[in-house]
């Protein structure tokens, strides 16, 4: 059986003195409980006063940062490029 990765979760934190949640990065977890726990370990060093949101990356729909910019790509896309878009052949050097 191929070794499937745990899904990617995006992590948002609101600090003790913060007004809103801020995106701080991502991590892998098998389920939401684990994602919360790991987010606390990794992004807050278990600080109890921080509020954490974890969201599966695949559940996030994003717009382009510069909607009015003539260089924007079609909106409503996934927040990150999907890994399978970029299938690099095995014989490409240094990849």
């Amino acid at each position: 059986m191929t070794d499937q990765s745990w899904p990617l979760y995006e992590v948002f934190l609101r600090g003790k003195r913060g007004l809103n949640h801020v995106h701080v990065g991502s991590l892998h977890a098998a389920d939401a409980e684990m994602a919360l726990r790991h987010a606390r370990d990794l992004y807050t060093r278990r600080n109890e006063g921080v509020s954490i949101w974890v969201v599966k990356a695949s559940d996030i729909t994003a717009s382009s940062p510069d909607e009015k910019d003539p260089f924007f790509k079609p909106s409503g896309d996934k927040v990150y490029r999907h890994p399978t878009f970029y299938d690099i052949p095995a014989d490409v050097p240094h990849m």
Partner: protein, 331 residues
């Protein structure tokens, strides 16, 4: 709305770089830039993870409980740094499991310094002082990397690593003020790690083909030789304060240049280590590979459980949570 041409997209990309602004995950970027970034970030991440091993080997033998706690926290930080970096690479479409596979099969590299053995407790201090010191020299410029997620991860990493360097140096100061055996241990560790630390900056500029393109794109902000020189200039006074001798008879201040002159690096040793024949290459990779492969059944179990759990929730329509200790769930 007409589609913008590739030419216009490329011009916008180049303009963003020229104005020293950040490229973000959803911006258009040349394929070469994306591939170079993934490789650079991934190899940096691999270095953090592999770097856990040479220092991790001394946690159980730390000679005081305080040093044990400090070292354990440091190694834990390194795991965290690896994770921030893998996350940054994933914003470019990479997959962490795939990157791990490339590391294990040597298709991607990690910093060659971790292919050297740690042979005494003084090595822990010297790694903090010299290896983290060199890493900081390399990494502070990366805080202005053109790629946003990488730059932001580097800011946090640099803050933590500067503390690690201070902890390492503080251990060495304590040892140098201690017994003769401790002082000998520090000198011995310095003798073994000085030249490999200089090698951390990579081959000399005249032997580095990718530097020019990388510098144009803000992937790299200083040349290898520039950074190596900065490191030497910073470190020589630190060595004097410690009371250790750096193992280079050609090291001397050059008044004209305003820098320290130093001796020739053994690039043959560097090549041997980078190509897989270093003292610890096989052992470092084997351990990473074993952890990953031995752990496959655990990762699969977690996924299987999550799938069953989702299934049950869908059927019952109720949220199923398993917690022994109540905690706030919504905010």
């Amino acid at each position: 709305m007409t589609m913008t041409s590739d030419q216009d997209l490329e011009a916008h990309f180049e303009d963003t770089i020229a104005r020293d602004r950040r490229i973000e995950p959803r911006d258009w970027m040349p394929e070469r830039y994306r591939a170079t970034m993934i490789r650079q970030i991934a190899q940096h991440a691999h270095s953090e993870i592999i770097g856990m091993q040479p220092e991790g080997n001394w946690i159980t033998r730390a000679p005081s409980l305080r040093r044990k706690a400090i070292l354990l926290a440091k190694v834990q930080d390194e795991a965290g740094h690896g994770m921030y970096l893998y996350s940054a690479a994933e914003t470019l479409g990479a997959d962490r499991g795939d990157l791990t596979g490339k590391l294990i099969t040597s298709r991607q590299k990690y910093s060659s310094i971790f292919n050297y053995p740690t042979l005494s407790y003084a090595d822990v201090g010297v790694i903090g002082w010299l290896v983290d010191g060199a890493a900081i020299c390399n990494q502070v410029p990366l805080c202005r990397s053109s790629y946003g997620p990488y730059a932001r991860a580097m800011i946090r990493i640099c803050k933590e690593e500067s503390f690690h360097q201070r902890q390492g140096y503080e251990l060495l100061l304590t040892m140098m003020r201690g017994t003769q055996a401790q002082r000998d241990m520090v000198q011995d560790a310095t003798d073994r790690f000085w030249w490999p630390s200089l090698m951390m900056f990579g081959p000399p500029d005249d032997a580095s083909p990718n530097t020019e393109q990388s510098m144009r794109w803000g992937v790299k902000r200083h040349t290898n030789d520039d950074l190596r020189q900065r490191f030497v200039d910073m470190t020589v006074p630190q060595a004097e304060k410690l009371g250790v001798t750096l193992p280079d008879p050609d090291l001397r201040w050059n008044e004209e240049r305003g820098h320290f002159d130093f001796g020739a690096v053994d690039w043959d040793e560097f090549k041997a280590v980078v190509s897989g024949n270093g003292p610890c290459n096989a052992q470092r990779l084997a351990r990473r590979k074993a952890a990953h492969e031995d752990g496959a059944w655990v990762r699969e179990a977690a996924l299987a459980h999550a799938a069953k759990h989702d299934d049950r929730q869908r059927k019952s329509g109720e949220e199923e949570r398993f917690l022994l200790t109540p905690e706030a769930t919504h905010d």
